[in-house]
């Protein structure tokens, strides 16, 4: 077990420290500047749909395809095409605007949340960290049933929040 992956390999999800060490967490300054793609893919696996899905060529895996994806933030338009393309559901797009953070994340559960809905925002361990509001849900056919949900929540939770709490009976 490598020490950098201690949390990923024992708890199932990467810790903030691991993500930072892997260089995949954008800084608050970057987030305030523009929406930033966060690719939480920190193990070398043979996979590159993020690269081929990007119309701008902003995501690069290259050869060998086990390379970790590299983002060129200058090329990225935050179009979000990579979010449903990632088989690992590891990509989100986050931004900061004043005291509100916004996240767009992949979602493959029913029921789909609805715009305007108040929800629990969860961190990578599935713990509720704050309340938030769904602002948009898109699930066009090209997503192949991976919906993309956008939600807003308090800015101070921007590093922790990864998704929303799943509702089930």
């Amino acid at each position: 077990m490598s020490s950098t992956n201690a949390s990923l390999k024992t708890d199932g999800a990467p810790s903030i420290e691991e993500l930072r060490a892997a260089g995949v967490l954008p800084s608050r300054e970057q987030l305030a500047q523009r929406p930033c793609v966060c690719v939480e893919c920190i193990e070398e696996i043979p996979c590159n749909p993020c690269e081929t899905s990007c119309p701008q060529g902003a995501l690069t895996v290259g050869d060998p395809i086990t390379n970790l994806p590299v983002i060129d933030r200058d090329k990225c338009t935050a179009c979000g095409a990579c979010i449903p393309a990632c088989p690992g559901l590891a990509i989100t797009i986050k931004s900061l605007s004043g005291d509100l953070a916004k996240i767009r994340f992949p979602w493959e559960y029913l029921p789909l949340p609805e715009a305007g809905e108040e929800v629990d925002m969860v961190d990578r361990m599935g713990m509720t960290v704050c309340r938030g509001k769904v602002v948009a849900v898109s699930n066009p056919p090209r997503n192949n049933r991976t919906a993309v949900v956008a939600a807003e929540f308090p800015a101070e939770r921007v590093d922790e929040v990864i998704s929303i709490r799943r509702k089930h009976e």
Binding site: E108, Y109, L110, L112, R145, A147
Partner: protein, 118 residues
Amino acid sequence: MSGEASSGGRRIASHPILGEPEAAREVTIYLDGAAIAAKEGEPIMSALVAAGVGVFRHTKRGSPRRMFCGIGRCTDCVMTVDGIPGVRTCVTPVREGMLVERQEGAGSWKGGEGHGRR
């Protein structure tokens, strides 16, 4: 909750990836005499699971069993079907009016009825 429906099984109506279930004709099978709704083409196992049936049989030592592998490899899900003991319910499709019985041990021949069928 009765023993019949203790397993909490149910049909998955709508699915985020698989969408709506394909329309299938409904057929009725009988478990130890009680009518159970099943979908044409599905194995006996899934009709019983959907109906919340928790025990398919007891072994000769009296231990309860349901399904284990679900694909016809193990014996766990066997039941007496139309008088024939030891039928693997996970790979045997339902048929209208099918008589399914929980069997104890190897079951019995029910006087040999039903063996000429099919």
